[in-house]
Amino acid sequence: MATTNPLQKALDKVGIEYKPTEFPNCGLHCSLVLEKEQIQPLARALAGKGFFIETVTAVDRIKENIFECIYLFNHYDQSQRLLVRVPLPRNRAVQPSIGRIFPGAVWHERETTEMFGIRFEGCPDSRNLLLPEDADFHPLCKDFSGVS
């Protein structure tokens, strides 16, 4: 059955099941947990359907020893907030960059890199953005306790 929902269309294109969540309760229309290989095809499909990137960030789940890389997408015409969650191992967190698909993601990725130490492979620019250029600590990690 054809749908007018751009999110569903985009997800169909990359073969991901569309499971809506309760928007009034959490402010998200759809929440996905994906593998890191899936993010670039999904981003391409979303870009093709007119989505824009809201943010790229991460959550440090130190108890499970993973980083959750978080992507928020939304659509300009319809409210369709999509949250994509990519679990990454904490000790070697590497994630394919979507900076070449959404140029606006570059700054968000740079910020995530410096704050968590997640490396974005193929990001056009990987210098520190907010922290000093020689900062090698990652302040938003839960085990960060300040620099002397």
Binding site: P24, N25, C26, G27, L28, A47, G50, F51, F52, I53, E54, T55, T57, V59, D60, I70, L72, N74, Y76, D77, S79, R81, L83, F102, P103, G104, A105, V106, W107, M115, N128, L129, L130, L131, P132, P139, L140
Partner: protein
């Protein structure tokens, strides 16, 4: 005037004749501690590289170490010109997370206060933008009117800039009828004064030449960079969180989302000027239909949010702010992410500044209306 042909930038072109210019961190045109490293060929910019972080305070980490009410004053200090929008976003996000109810009267007052704040922010932008273009009088003309808004807001919130007025479940205190009539009186007076703004600037031929066709953002680029707010609407995309994902009863009011198809500095200017008028309309409607009743619902003193996550989007004067909270069920949020509008809006500057004259680059920077502490957080 014809636009210059854009020189294409390659690294080996930076030779002896070209030089690097440090625009900022202390420069009157950057509106705060922003530094842009410009590679220049005479007056033309070959490449612009914004350097951020001079005002970085690690707001997200601070929020992780604060209880939900404690984080309130911190949130408002990110965007000092639109503090109430931030205040509102934080309050709404936590209310959504904890499922608190908000009385209708409180919602209406929130809308009035936030829209007043939006007008004051746009007025300051108006003056500062003209200051970037070299006009001095508009700045103080705008500040004179903004002062009255600050007086009104000071009366209800107790502070003039970094307001912290909204609380979980409503407001700490009600406003009286007299204040509402004074707001209406201000609106009437301000409507009379608005033509003066247009006479002084909007019709001015010098201003026209400085802003028309300068810093054009194509809708395609706008989407790619995730822009929002007046900058996006200046490029012809009708996206306003107040319409898109209505909050705080914005769906009850009748207002338009001004759009300009040109995508240049003048387009963004027109959008903001039209937005001021729409905000006036919203305030009038909100005051006209304000219900009686309590302004605060019953909220537990110790707020423990249930485990889960929430994303709350709010339209600040600069664009779409998303507060994303991950809660683990304790008194403090596990992770907070502020998706700030200026951050995304500034990221397109490097692309826009390329091939422009220095004077135009500053006009573009001014038209983006960033607040640097918001970008840096």
């Amino acid at each position: 005037m014809n636009r210059p042909i854009q020189p294409t930038y390659t690294l080996d072109k930076v030779g002896e004749e070209n030089f690097a210019l440090n625009l900022g961190p202390q420069h009157p045109g950057t509106h705060g501690v922003l530094r842009v490293v410009l590679h220049m060929d005479g007056e033309y910019i070959l490449q612009a590289d914004p350097v951020l972080g001079y005002g970085h305070r690690m707001q997200e980490k601070i929020a992780e170490n604060m209880t939900y009410p404690q984080a309130l004053p911190y949130v408002c200090r990110m965007d000092y010109l639109g503090a109430l929008s931030y205040n509102l976003a934080w309050v709404l996000a936590v209310e959504k997370l904890c499922q608190f109810e908000v009385p209708e009267r409180a919602e209406a007052i929130r809308v009035i206060a936030t829209e007043l704040n939006r007008i004051s922010s746009h007025l300051l932008w108006w003056g500062a933008f003209l200051l970037d273009l070299g006009g001095f009088t508009p700045f103080l003309q705008a500040l004179t009117d903004r002062e009255q808004i600050l007086d009104l807001l000071e009366e209800i919130t107790g502070s003039r800039l970094t307001y912290c007025y909204f609380r979980f479940g409503g407001l700490p205190s009600d406003v009286d009828e007299e204040w509402l009539t004074r707001v209406l009186a201000f609106i009437k007076e301000f409507r009379d004064r608005l033509p003066r703004y247009h006479d002084l600037v909007t019709g001015n031929v010098i201003f026209h030449h400085r802003s028309k066709d300068v810093g054009v953002i194509l809708p395609f680029d706008a989407a790619g960079y995730g822009l929002s707010g007046p900058i996006l609407r200046g490029s012809g995309i009708e996206f306003d969180v107040r319409k898109h994902e209505p909050y705080s009863g914005y769906d009850r009011y009748d207002f338009e989302v001004p759009v300009d198809q040109n995508g240049d500095c003048l387009g963004r200017y027109n959008v903001r000027m039209a937005e001021i008028e729409q905000s006036l309309r919203i305030i009038e409607q909100a005051i006209g239909s304000i219900p009686d009743g309590p302004v605060r619902s019953k909220v537990p003193k110790l707020i423990k949010a249930p485990a889960g996550e929430v994303a709350m989007a709010v339209e600040t004067p600069r664009g779409q702010l998303v507060i994303y909270i991950v809660s683990d069920g304790s008194k403090k949020p596990y992770r907070v992410k502020y998706r700030v509008p200026s951050f995304a809006n500034l990221s397109i500057f490097a692309k826009m500044a390329r091939g422009q004259l220095l004077a135009d680059a500053l006009a573009i920077l001014g038209s983006l209306d960033m607040v640097i502490p918001e970008v840096d957080r």
